[in-house]
């Protein structure tokens, strides 16, 4: 358990929340707020994915599909039916969750890692192609624009506006979602459910023999994970206000998020968050070298898998303990 959450996870989250609370009082320009907003959205995405990938131990590779489903569902409903985005983001989350449970069914029967990886990847490709081919509704790769931002709210006479260009409001929405989702997941994972997920990850057969209903728990994890990712996608849609199938469900999204999780630490609760921060900031710093972004992500994934498979979150404890892990570099086969 210590491995997954680190020490005093609630305290860590509290510190993060306080830091986020302080951000609006700092003299930051809109551009930095924009980067922080993107970081918060992707951190929620990465944490949601890590739920199945790292904590349940099912190596799913198609969570960008749930991001896209959440984003498109919320954007389409709010655009075509004039429903407030404050409501449609939940429709996005629920749609993603249903999709997660549906794709969970064929996976339940299989324990082999390749099957799970390929089925989820194929599912993501289906989702991308469907959004891209339904041109009458989504405008395909031309991009779906005209997504309404969150409706302005008034607090004590000041109106807070949202969407790209209104950096404070957008940052506030992302920050509230970030803290709330992480708090909820922390409560969930510190309860019986979290123990069950870890039991399934570490010893599936043993967990089953002790009466853990694998199918129900896996579907539950899939549903929650997809809902979290879908919610982050919906908030993303109402922030950037334009979606294309390849930008939300394409391979670049898969690689970016996978890099965040691996760099941060697979299976560590706070790992993906560190990874999201590091990679969002570096990719913005390297904005002028846009072509090199994927090169960097690819290289980072390889370097971390080889040198630090537990990611940034896994670096600290191994420094304190004896570095016995470094010594277990595997011998090569003859």
């Amino acid at each position: 358990m210590l491995d997954v959450f680190g020490r005093r996870p609630y305290l860590v989250l509290l510190v993060l929340a306080l830091l986020l609370l302080a951000v609006p009082f700092l003299p930051l320009d809109d551009y930095i707020l924009h980067i922080l907003t993107l970081f918060l959205i992707f951190a929620v995405f990465a944490t949601g994915w890590n739920l199945t990938l790292g904590i349940l131990g099912l190596k799913t590779l198609g969570h960008h599909a749930f991001f896209a489903i959440g984003a498109y569902a919320s954007a389409l409903v709010s655009h075509y039916f004039g429903v407030s985005p404050w409501l449609t983001v939940w429709i996005g989350a629920i749609a993603a969750s249903i999709a997660g449970i549906v794709i969970g069914f064929p996976i339940l029967r299989i324990r082999s890692m390749p099957h799970v990886a390929i089925v989820t990847l194929a599912f993501a490709e289906i989702v991308r192609l469907v959004f891209s081919n339904l041109k009458e509704i989504t405008r395909g790769e031309l991009g779906f624009w005209g997504i309404p931002p969150f409706n302005p709210i008034e607090i004590g006479g000041t109106t807070i506006r949202f969407g790209l260009g209104n950096s404070f409001g957008s940052f506030a929405v992302a920050a509230v979602m970030f803290v709330a989702i992480h708090l909820l997941l922390l409560v969930l994972l510190r309860s019986r459910a979290g123990l069950t997920f870890l039991a399934i990850r570490d010893a599936e057969a043993a967990a089953e023999s002790l009466g853990v209903r694998l199918a129900a728990w896996k579907l539950f994890a899939f549903g929650i994970s997809a809902a979290v990712v879908g919610l982050s996608g919906a908030v993303y849609a109402h922030y950037v206000l334009i979606l294309t199938p390849s930008s939300v469900a394409g391979p670049e999204m898969l690689i970016s998020l996978l890099a965040m999780i691996i760099v941060g630490g697979v299976g560590r609760f706070f790992g993906p968050l560190y990874g999201a921060l590091l990679l969002t900031v570096t990719s913005e710093l390297l904005r002028d070298f846009g072509d090199y972004r994927m090169l960097l992500y690819g290289a980072l994934i390889i370097v971390f898998v080889f040198a630090a498979p537990a990611g940034i979150a896994g670096l600290k404890p191994s420094l304190r303990r004896k570095p016995h892990q470094a010594a277990s570099e595997p011998a090569e086969a003859v």
């Binding site: 194929a122 992500y297 390889i302 080889f306 498979p309």
Partner: protein, 291 residues
């Protein structure tokens, strides 16, 4: 549907299918022998595409010589990838996922590197077989027919090596139990490298056959990778023959699917078929005796 159309659909399906079979059987061979899912397999198709382009077009070498040189290079590259990025991970606890992650990283790294080196403009290779075959009412360029014939020849050759030679027996022994093979003196590490080289050769063959028909681009492998994976699962994970059969089946499904819906949906049909099969028969369509 007239007879001509039917023949045309079947031929097109078999031609597309032969590429899927070449890509998929290579992935299956690697998975069957080493239990490694190589996500950089698509780049073993993209890089020989560029290699062949440079040798045959830029340097103007004869087609056959360029093809042989490309195949040798890509086989060395395949072996090198196994040695450098995959073998060192195999003794770790969570190696299955770490190999997947590392090869995904390698794949995107090579794609972006290719994009930086050769740019985004897509390049084609001229046909190396001219003329049109006329089968009854059906007219089909020899270039396309050649894909099917050469693919069958190459995969047949691979099958012969696997099931009729000493090397094949060694590979199959390693596939069954690498440790036991090691115990009777088979250097299973070296066998793994060799299998990667063969698999790279199959992908390279696919790339060379395709290069006159599709444009060579940094992403040409990525689009076939997922189809290759689908083929491997449909054929029963790790079965060489199953993957070949499933490759042709998938090609036929897409070809007939396109006859009824527009072509942009053909991949959707394939992947839905894949998920349906996994739901109903997770062991694959052609699973039978053992591995």
């Amino acid at each position: 549907m007239s007879g001509t159309q039917l023949v045309e659909l079947i031929l097109n399906g078999l031609i597309t299918g032969s590429i899927y079979a070449l890509v998929g059987s290579g992935i299956a061979l690697v998975y069957g022998t080493t239990r490694v899912l190589n996500f950089a397999h698509g780049e073993l198709m993209m890089l020989p595409g560029y290699g062949f382009l440079m040798l045959a077009v830029t340097l103007g070498w004869p087609v056959l010589l360029s093809a042989i040189a490309t195949l040798v290079l890509v086989m060395v590259l395949g072996g090198l990838i196994q040695r450098v990025t995959i073998a060192p991970l195999l003794n770790r606890e969570d190696w299955a996922f770490q190999v997947v992650a590392a090869t995904i990283g390698l794949s995107i790294f090579l794609q972006s590197a290719a994009q930086l080196i050769w740019g985004e403009q897509f390049q084609g290779v001229p046909y190396f077989f001219s003329g049109v075959a006329v089968i009854g009412e059906v007219r089909m360029p020899w270039q396309r027919i050649a894909i099917l014939l050469i693919a069958l020849l190459v995969m047949g050759l691979c099958g012969l090596v696997l099931y009729r030679t000493q090397i094949g027996r060694i590979i199959r022994a390693t596939a069954q139990d690498a440790e036991a093979a090691l115990a009777v003196g088979i250097p299973s590490g070296r066998v793994h490298t060799m299998v990667f080289a063969i698999s790279a050769g199959l992908a390279g063959t696919a790339a060379i056959l395709l290069s006159p028909l599709v444009t060579v681009s940094p992403w040409m492998g990525a689009s076939y990778l997922l189809k290759g994976f689908a083929v491997v699962i449909l054929g029963g994970l790790g079965s060489f023959g199953g993957a070949v059969a499933a490759g042709f089946l998938l090609g036929l499904i897409e070809s007939f699917g396109v006859a009824f819906v527009s072509s942009e949906w053909s991949s959707v049909i394939s992947f839905i078929f894949l998920i349906a099969v996994i739901w109903a028969r997770p062991e694959g369509l052609f699973a039978g005796r053992g591995q």
